[in-house]
């Protein structure tokens, strides 16, 4: 698509799609792996860590950081595509 300032609706729609995907991952690692499915995951061990416990105290935090930086990159690309970059 050519850079143009006339597609705020399309821009917003793509933005919402990104948000939905990223927040789904956000939910899955913390509430999913760290809380709801902790018991099941704890049967798997990585080094000394039961996996569910690891997600709750370590893994989810690493994923959170990565999620924000992925979001930053995706949005910067999207801004360029729609000509909102500055």
């Amino acid at each position: 698509m050519k850079p143009s300032r006339s597609h705020p609706k399309a821009y917003w729609k793509e933005n919402l799609r990104y948000l939905f995907i990223l927040l789904a991952i956000w939910f899955a690692v913390s509430y999913g792996a760290g809380i709801l499915f902790k018991e099941a995951l704890d049967t798997i061990k990585i080094g000394g860590f039961p996996l569910g416990f690891w997600f709750a105290q370590q893994g989810s935090i690493y994923v959170f950081v990565i999620l924000i930086f992925v979001y930053v990159r995706l949005m910067n690309r999207l801004d360029k595509k729609y000509g909102y970059d500055e």
């Binding site: 705020p8 821009y11 917003w12 933005n15 948000l19 990223l22 927040l23 956000w26 913390s30 509430y31 760290g34 809380i35 709801l36 902790k38 704890d42 990585i46 080094g47 000394g48 860590f49 039961p50 416990f53 690891w54 709750a56 105290q57 370590q58 989810s60 935090i61 690493y62 959170f64 950081v65 999620l67 924000i68 930086f69 979001y71 930053v72 949005m75 910067n76 801004d79 000509g83 909102y84 970059d85 500055e86």
Partner: protein, 561 residues
Amino acid sequence: MIYIGIAIWSRAGSTKEFYVAGGGVSPLANGMATAADWMSAASFISMAGIISFGGYDGSVYLMGWTGGYVLLALLLAPYLRKFGKFTVPDFIGDRYYSKTARVVAVLCALLVSFTYVAGQMRGVGLVFSRFLEVDINTGVIIGMAIVLFYAVLGGMKGITYTQVAQYCVLIFAFMVPAIFISIQMTGHVVPQIGMGGTLDDGSGTYLLDKLNGLSEELGFAQYTDGSKSTIDVFMITLALMVGTAGLPHVIVRFFTVKRVKDARKSAGIALLLIAILYTTAPAVAVFARTNMITTVSNQPYEEMPEWFTKWETTGLIAFDDKNGDGKVQYTAFAKAENEHPANELTVDRDIMVLANPEIANLPAWVIALVAAGGLAAALSTAAGLLLVISSSVSHDLIKKTFKPNISDKQELWIARGAATVAVVIAGYFGIDPPGFVAAVVALAFGLAAASFFPAIVLGIFYKKMNKEGAIAGMIVGISLMLFYMLKFKFGIFDGGKVAVAGLQKDWWFGISPEGFGSIAMLVNFVVAITVNRFTPVPPEEVQAIVENIRIPSGAGEATPH
């Protein structure tokens, strides 16, 4: 001293510099300042201790206080930056085209900030009193003087640069002892790996397995399992996450950068910097717990190390030789049960981080470093909160509601006056805590979750959201949270604090007051959307504002109007 020097160098010359540091802070500096602002006495001093005693239960703080940044970065920060005003009530007031909405938001902001700042002043006082060897009241007063000096003089500009310095101090102070102890116990330099590693004593046992074994032996829940119910863990985590995203002193940070893309990036940097401490804390918790149990459990009282007796004099460690055998029995049982002896040792959770280097026999300079770090953490957060309080009063109440025609200079002086009054009130609560200050700090998140988060999110993502809905939602949400907290945390309807423990069985759906913010938030959403359906849609120009904040370009600088 250094903090004050920076404050003088960067003192504010205008309201704009006072509120948003002139809007020209780089994302890295802003990220560091946000991280220091965010990591309070609770993160630095208390959190590892809480995890240490709670094991898996402590995860709620780890996930809650970091996961909130994802919400903040994705749902709030960029849009609020584009909106380009000074404060959260500013956004609420303009987006919902109503003075009432603004005043409700100001009251919520004051309530949240005050409950939070009182705990910080207490933390400052604790560190000063322990390490300057003055009594705690003198400690609080010294702390008040320092915070007042640079928050009032410098405003946001002063605070931003002092917080950058404070971040460096506090992260260094947290990491050094953690790395030392990790090497000592497991041979790993990185504590995050050491935590899951094997013990360095040639036995080949995993550290966590050993700790689970020790805990079980003494009658505690397994360290990696904890004892809270799944629903409560879920709800507390949610309340803390949403509360983090709704805390006014954190949100206001994102008004200080130049462009919308900087706001996104600086949220990422802030979380990265916070994550360094937050992934180390659970490791510190495991090391400290294991060390403490092996040092004291079933050992003769006579042979306790120096740190034990030193903390005993502060009253934060207490030993009572119930069976008279001269040894310290540390167990989960109040009375002797089966083959388990009764517990004879009480340890205040807050001392774990401060005492940890002493327990592990680290050199004195490391111990001093930890004190400096605790101080930096508490001071930076207190200053950020005071700024929110003062700007809420001077900007949102006086300038925007009661006296719109005061000059910029007068407004600046009112802001400084408000900060002074706020410090004095916070100091009073620090010296003379009503007994529940520490408990209230956690509840500040519930209050923020129940009030701001829904109003802001709906304001951005639901164009047709009107003022009636938003105001009703905020009022119902925060009232419900206040009610639940007063009933189940302070027991005021059932005969005071003594009744609190007995009320636990009456918790709605088994959710603790700390986790109830999630429910209050959902109720806020439901009320807001329901009321919205039966009242008129917002005017065209407001809908145009919403369209505009969704587009990142042309943010300009944060302006008064």
